[in-house]
Every structure is written in C-alpha cells, then in structure tokens.
Amino acid sequence: MEIEEHFFRHEFGRIVATLTRLFGVHNFALAEDVTQDAFCRAMETWKLRGLPDNPSAWLMTAAKNRALDILRRQRTARVSEPELTRFLQSEWTLAPTVEEAFSAHAVKDSQLRMMFSCCHPHLSEEVQIALILHILCGFNVKEIAQAFVSSHAAIEKRITRGKNTLAGSTKLFDLADADLPSRLSSVLQALYLLFNEGYHGSSPEAAVRMEPCQEAMRLMNLLIEQPTLATPRSYALAALMYLNAARLPTRLDGSGNLVSFFEQDRSSWDHNLIAEGQALLNLSASGTELTKYHIEAAIAAVHTSASSSEDTDWAQIISLYDMLIAIHPSPIVALNRAIAIAQLDGPERGLQEIQIIHDLHRLASYPFYPATLGELELRRGNYPVAKAHFSTALSLARNPMERNFLQRRIDTCKEG
C-alpha cells in the first residue's frame, strides 16, 4: 500500500482544524506544532515498521493522544470555547470530549469553521486565500508563492498577518453565528478565486494547474455537505467548478500547449463531471437569488451541452453575459461577451463591441485582450493587423504555454 499523493496535505488541514478547536484559536501555533510533530513521528515510525493499515487513523490517534497529554498538563492555561473548556477541565469528561472532537463529523465541522475563520472580514481576499491554502490544504509558503506568482516574502507576510488575525479571536467561527450569510459569501468568493487561479492561471510555469482547482472543489464539497451551508449560491458555485473542471484537461494538448476553446476536443470533456455539474446547477435553481456564480455556471452549461462550437446557443450565452454585466460589471466579462457576439454575428460586430467596453484600459496588460482582437481580425482576413495584435499579446504572455500558443497564432497569420 502507498500513501496517496496529497495524503499529508489533506491530513494537515483535518488535524490542525480539530486541534485548533480543542486548544482555542489563539493557540493556533500550538495546534500547528502538534500536527507537524505527529507527521514527523509518523514518518519515522512508518520508515521503520512500514505503513499501517490505515495511515489516516494512525495519524489521528497520534494527534489525539498528544492533545490529551497537552490538555492534561496545561489544563487551566488552555481556554478554548467556553462550552468546551469546562469539559476539558475535568477528568470525567476530558477524554470523551477529545474523542468526540476527532469523530468524522466533528473533524469536518472544525474544517468548515476554520475555513470561515480564514475569511475574516479584516483580511484581504488574497490573505484569505493564502490562509486557506496554507491551513486547510497544507500548502507551504513556497507552494503558495508559486500558485500566486508572488515572492516568498510577500506570501510569508500575508500568512503571518492572517495568523495574527486568527489568533486574535477567542474561538473558531461559529456556524450558527448571525454573521453566517455574509461570511459564507466571503468563503465562496475565496474558493471561486482559488479555482480561477488554477483555471486561468497567471503562473509563470503553467497556464492551467489542476491543484488549486482540485483543492477548491474538495473544500466546496465539504461545504455543500453541510445542510445549512448548501444554499442556492453555494450550489451554483459548485456547479460552475464542476462544469469548468470537466473541460480543464482539454485546455492543454498532449504536449502541454494551450488549446483555444474553439479547438478543444469535446469528446475528452469529462462527462461525469458535466453530469454532476448539471445536477448541482439544478439544485442551485431554488430561491430568488441570482448570483454571478449562477450565471457563470449557466454559461458553462450551455457550452458543455453543445456538441460543437457551431451547435452552441450563442444567443443565450450573450443574454447570460448581459445579465452578468448587469450584476457584476467587468471588462473581462465584457470581452467574453464580445467574443460570443462575434460567434453569432461575425467578427466585425465582435470588434465593435470591444471598442465600447467600459474600462477597456484595465485590460492593458491582459494578453487575451490583444489576442482576441487578433483572433477576430484573423477571421476577417486582416492578416497583418491580426499578426500585430498577436505580437502585442505575445509580449504580455505570462508563461511558456501562453507564449507557445500565441507564437502559433502568429505563424497562422504568416501562412494566411
């Protein structure tokens, strides 16, 4: 038997969240140390004696015993949430309370509460996401720096700031708190950004990275398992993730090159994920709330239900983009809308729509803005103009995949 690739990463999140619940969030550093310690002991023991039958249970037991020791030794010094503290202070109830905190149900609950704590309103979105990746997904500073194209020092600073804010609370966010709706929307936004970071990666090494997407989906699944959190908005975001993830592998070809949406091999889309995404989208369609997640998921669903680009209901996609711009104006959304218009009414109309995009200057460093202009000019047969746009795009490219992709488009212009 072998440990699966992300074993320690995922166990880290489960154990550290559980220990934080027991020790109190102001003792987060202790919870981290105890978790690391349990991992080190596991590695040493397993190296000598081989892997246990259930590595996850082994780690949990190690952490549980260590927690019991610490709570016994420093009983009165540890103040966790008041309702828990009294049961941790008597031998009558100490062991069963620790046992209960490590039950499958409580571990999930602690992870969720940790996720909500990471999205503290005093923290910026980028700090929230860094914290989630670090604490719940077990990413180290270097891995987060890679995922966000940031320096090691910048990420370290974000995480330190985040941890200080965490440690300033008395307990993990309570899912029964009156602030739940607003905190839930911050959590969803953080998971949305995390997913997008993998999907439209700005990483210098790769244009598409499965990992942030998978982590966002793993946390999203944890969230919608909890009935009070499974709101229409949550289902809509989950649907969006599933429907986009279904297309994820086809965004790169066999040699790791970025593939234009119009050239993706639709038969390689993951039909199980599409079916699940569609089911989630149906679940999201209750209540009166219409969020950007609903609309983006609906757009993704129009794509995944079409057998080809020609067969796609572009009129519906345009009207969905209109709705999206109404509630969430953004030049990137407007650019995508213009692309859909070009599909329906031809490249000239697409180019006209691009001209009138509000805040167009915000796309100045976005390589797919000139790339889109190039694409539409190419379709009109304006090869030199198209080539010039693609060259501009190439100068803005953020990773080798984007560079290769744009170089190939330039070559196409030359052929024309």
Binding site: R86, F87, T93, P96, T97
Partner: protein, 117 residues
C-alpha cells in the same frame, strides 16, 4: 439555589478499552446534560481507588481507603439544585447505579463568622 456534593461510591474502572469508552460516553452524556441545564457548579473529578489516610493525634499514616470496594469514593461533582429533594432527583440518571454503586448527596455546609459575642 444551593450547592450539593455528589460523592460517587463504587465507581469501577472497566477492564477493556471498549468498555471504558462506553462508560466514558455514559458519564459524559449524563454530566453534559446536567451541565447544559445549569446544574453543575463543578464537574469534579474521578478518583483512583488507592491512596493514604492520615489519622489521629499521632498522625498515623495508613494505606487507604480502608472501606470495601463498593463503598470507596470513586469521584465527586458539585451540583446546583433547589433543595436536597431536587438534588436527589437530579442524581437519578447517574451511570454509577449500573455498577451497583451509590451517590451520596451532601449539602455544602456554611461556616459562619465568629462575631465574638
């Protein structure tokens, strides 16, 4: 509201980890219920069945407790109740009875100021 001490007599530690876990869960459930209803001043502690007794003017030290196993105090809690009848009623759910043990219920005494009359 008044405070009462519960002295649990005849508490027995189970032989197997499985039984221990079951027994722990029962005590936990009972004490948690009392606590949630606001009847617990202090959960108290269980006690080991061994110890020493220091006794008499000569402060003689003997191994104790010297009573029979079923009468040894196996732990205590401090409970809040309206009166002794209420405290008795609250004790009825205690898992000690499954061990054939008993709960001794004692109101906490008051030591008055000596006003020197």
């Amino acid at each position: 509201m008044n405070d009462f001490v519960y002295l649990y007599r005849g508490y027995q530690l189970p032989a197997t980890p499985d039984e221990l876990q079951k027994k722990n869960a029962k005590w936990m459930a009972w004490l948690k219920d009392l606590s949630d209803k606001g009847h617990v001043r202090s959960l108290g502690e269980p006690l080991q069945p061994v110890g020493k007794v220091v006794k008499g003017a000569k402060k003689q030290v003997i191994d104790g407790p010297y009573t029979e196993a079923k009468d040894v105090v196996g732990g205590y809690s401090i409970i809040v109740a309206w009166n002794i009848e209420h405290a008795v009623e609250l004790s009825m759910g205690c898992p000690i009875f499954e061990d054939g043990g008993s709960v001794e219920i004692r109101p906490i005494g008051q030591i008055e100021l000596d006003n020197g009359d």
